[in-house]
């Protein structure tokens, strides 16, 4: 009951590069799995060369973005363009419970690392692929990023103001939530089943299909033939006011959500029962919704005079859902998150101490798993070659010299 490494003993051969896939295997590594990240300086994982960078550090070891996605993994430097590397990868695959990749269709096949190749030696392997739009279909070769998948899925079009261009989340959202989330759920479910049946299988997470699932209700609504959707900013059908209101200072905001009349009366009380609140149109939800422009203007008139955090505290005290809009700086200094021990400082071998998000869940009564910083490129090649392949030092040195281990 005191273990913080519930996945100890699980070996993962990881060909997930960039964003979404790397998050899947990070979750496994953070819970104790041995995740062997295959990478090479011959063609580095794009995330290793993605900003932000720590200054004056080896350029392949300086990416904070890479570090944020690769904690607790081990790095095995393997130059896949070399035929010998492919044989070594196949030997590693034979010893892993899970093999993951997020390349375009055809790459793993070219390396002799298709599901069929691996399961011949290792029939109980769980094999995850995360192609953009799937391994089949007319668009299987199409290229994309999180933001273009978000656009395809309908998420972008629905987010923003009605009279402005749509904006989505402002991030490559599918890379951060639906795709890593569905990917890790799928692998864990397959491992659960495997423990009972002894059998493996392959899993395909097409990033578009995964992302459409987080718009399930909206898709059903469209399928059933509802009225056309019009972007609506922060408004929703069942609450008013429901928005982001300006507070004292520059670019300071508080989000407020009022559904019930009771919450409305509390909001008015917190504002000191201003004169406008006597207007009978505001007394009911229907009235507030029907006069939402005016409603938002009078509420903003009140919030402008307040500090966003004081306003949040006061509203929450009176049971009105509200939160100051937190920037990253606010989050890092957030007393609540600190009290929960959310932020971690990990010691990175090249960058020194770096700030890491903790896991968003914990087992009550147990310490949080340790977050060891991301590996240096090839940091564990020798260790793993000796341990898993029984390799002698002379052979290792030769493979380094031949730039197979590179």
């Amino acid at each position: 009951m005191t273990s913080t490494v519930p996945l100890a003993g699980l070996r993962v051969l990881d060909y997930c590069w960039i964003g979404a896939g790397a998050f899947v295997t990070k979750m496994l590594a953070d819970h104790g799995a041995l995740v062997i990240k295959i990478e090479s300086r011959a063609r580095p994982d794009n995330l290793r060369v993605a900003p932000p960078f720590k200054p004056n550090v080896d350029p392949l070891e300086a990416s904070g973005y890479f570090a944020s996605r690769n904690s607790n993994k081990k790095s095995f430097a393997l130059n896949m363009s070399h035929p010998t590397a492919r044989l070594i990868a196949q030997r590693l695959a034979a010893q892993c419970s899970v093999v993951t990749s997020n390349f375009r269709p055809g790459i793993m096949e070219r390396w002799g690392l298709s599901y069929d190749d691996i399961r011949r030696e290792n029939p109980s392997v769980v094999y995850l692929t995360m192609p953009m739009q799937g391994l089949t279909g007319p668009h299987k070769e199409y290229v994309g990023f999180g933001s273009t998948i978000a656009a395809l899925s309908g998420l972008v079009e629905r987010s923003g103001l009605p009279d402005r261009a749509p904006v989505g989340t402002g991030t490559h959202y599918p890379d951060h939530v639906p795709n890593p989330g569905h990917g890790v759920v799928a692998v864990l479910a397959a491992l659960y089943e495997r423990a009972r049946s002894g059998k493996g299988q392959s899993i395909e997470v097409a990033q578009l299909e995964s992302t459409v699932n987080v718009l399930g209700p909206e898709l059903i609504e469209a399928a059933i033939g509802g009225p056309p959707f019009v972007r609506r900013g922060n408004r929703v059908a069942d609450a008013a006011p429901h928005g982001v209101f300006p507070c004292k200072g520059s670019d300071q905001w508080c989000a407020i959500s009022v559904r019930s009349d009771e919450e409305w009366r509390s909001l008015v009380d917190v504002f000191g029962v201003p004169v406008w609140s006597a207007d009978p149109v505001f007394a009911t939800f229907g009235g507030r919704k029907a006069h939402e422009d005016r409603l938002e203007a009078v509420v903003a008139g009140e919030t402008r005079q307040r500090d966003r955090n004081e306003l949040m505290r006061e509203l929450q005290k009176w049971r009105v859902p509200a939160a100051a809009v937190s920037t990253t700086e606010d989050l890092v200094n957030d007393a609540h998150l600190s009290a929960r021990g959310y932020w971690h400082r990990s010691e990175h071998a090249a960058m020194g101490p770096i700030l890491m998000n903790g896991l968003p869940f914990r087992v009550v009564g147990r310490p949080q798993p340790e977050l060891r910083a991301a590996p240096l490129l090839g940091e564990h090649t020798w260790e793993l070659a000796a341990e898993l392949l029984g390799m002698q030092r002379a052979e290792y040195d030769r493979l380094v010299a031949e730039q197979v281990f590179y």
């Binding site: 904070g64 079009e157 991030t171 809009v325 937190s326």
Partner: protein, 407 residues
Amino acid sequence: MTETTGERQPAGPLAGVRALDLADVSAAYTTKLLADLGADVIRVAPERDPLAETEPRIGAAARASARYWFDNTNKRAVALDLDTARGRAAFETLIRDIDVIVETGAPGSMAARGLGYDHLAELRPELILVSVTPFGQDGPKAGYLADDLITLAAGGLLSLGGYPDTAPVAVDGMQSTYAASLAAATALLIALLERQATGRGCWIDVSAQECIAAALEDAIPELDLRGTVRRRVGDRPREAGSGVYRCADGYVSMIAGRVGTAKAWSALVQWLNDEDIPGAEELVRDEWNSFLHRQKPASIETFGAVFARFAGARTKAELYRDAQVRGIALSPVNRMDEVLVDPQLVARDFFVPLRHDELAREVVYPGAPYRFSRTPWSLRSPAPRPGQHTADVLPDAPPEPLPVRPL
């Protein structure tokens, strides 16, 4: 309503797992994930289930909730009021062969009913209790109230969304509920795997705020390494060639200049020149190959003007097809009705029609978020009516008689 609408399929990977869903809208998707993978999930809610009244509402007089339909496929439903002694007694009977409970009550509310983890674990040591709340079980904000917008604000994603000249704008579709649900499902599956070895359950505390704070892309390392607070940039591209651009019939989204995609930028410039777009010749100059140059406001402006001349005369579909031929990551900004006819999704038989007997019609649902080769995901039955299976599930311990709702 029929129990099963499809043909018999092989069982999903979670067949045999039994779960109770006590969650509100903030985490009901957790147990949809389990149910669609074969678990037996029983939704436990009052007879008037608040989830059945959440947006988006559909149909005549808005009597149904598309969210309730989506979140509750493959589940059974029991009407139980945990605030009554009889309801609690029935619940204690119910949990004796249950593996997982997912609940979203305010911290302390389960314990206040006498149904805290310690008590439940005495009755059922193997139980995995998953508690999903906006701010977690402890800490100074543990009791704070939140909905999706408040969670996005507290977790930081709202600060990245919207236009620089207006208030921040939240992403649509209650995305914080998916972030929390996917984390909750991850946590409980890890606990189930561990239980296979130890035989013991546990109590899992999921904070939706923390789930959102983990979804901020490079913004945390950006602050940590450069001291820069990332802010919303809205509809203005961050770099020439990357962003949302207007075209003849809407918008397209393009990434043609990110690190590692220099080839895509060259292909884009070639395309504009092949089509003789005025001003495109300027983009051939060498300095444009540097992303530092492409990130200058003047470059973003110059490129935007050239691309507007080009895209303004072309449709989303034309741009999508022709860009992809050239290896450029460009996609249409689809409306939901366009997603329903996306050629790729249609060709892969993604969408699943599900018979709704009460409507005497089929309704199209999103298909599998993942495709398993041996133990498939499946949609077997639509969401139950609240309380539909009370008599089946609790034949020996009926709760108090319930008033019949008028149709």
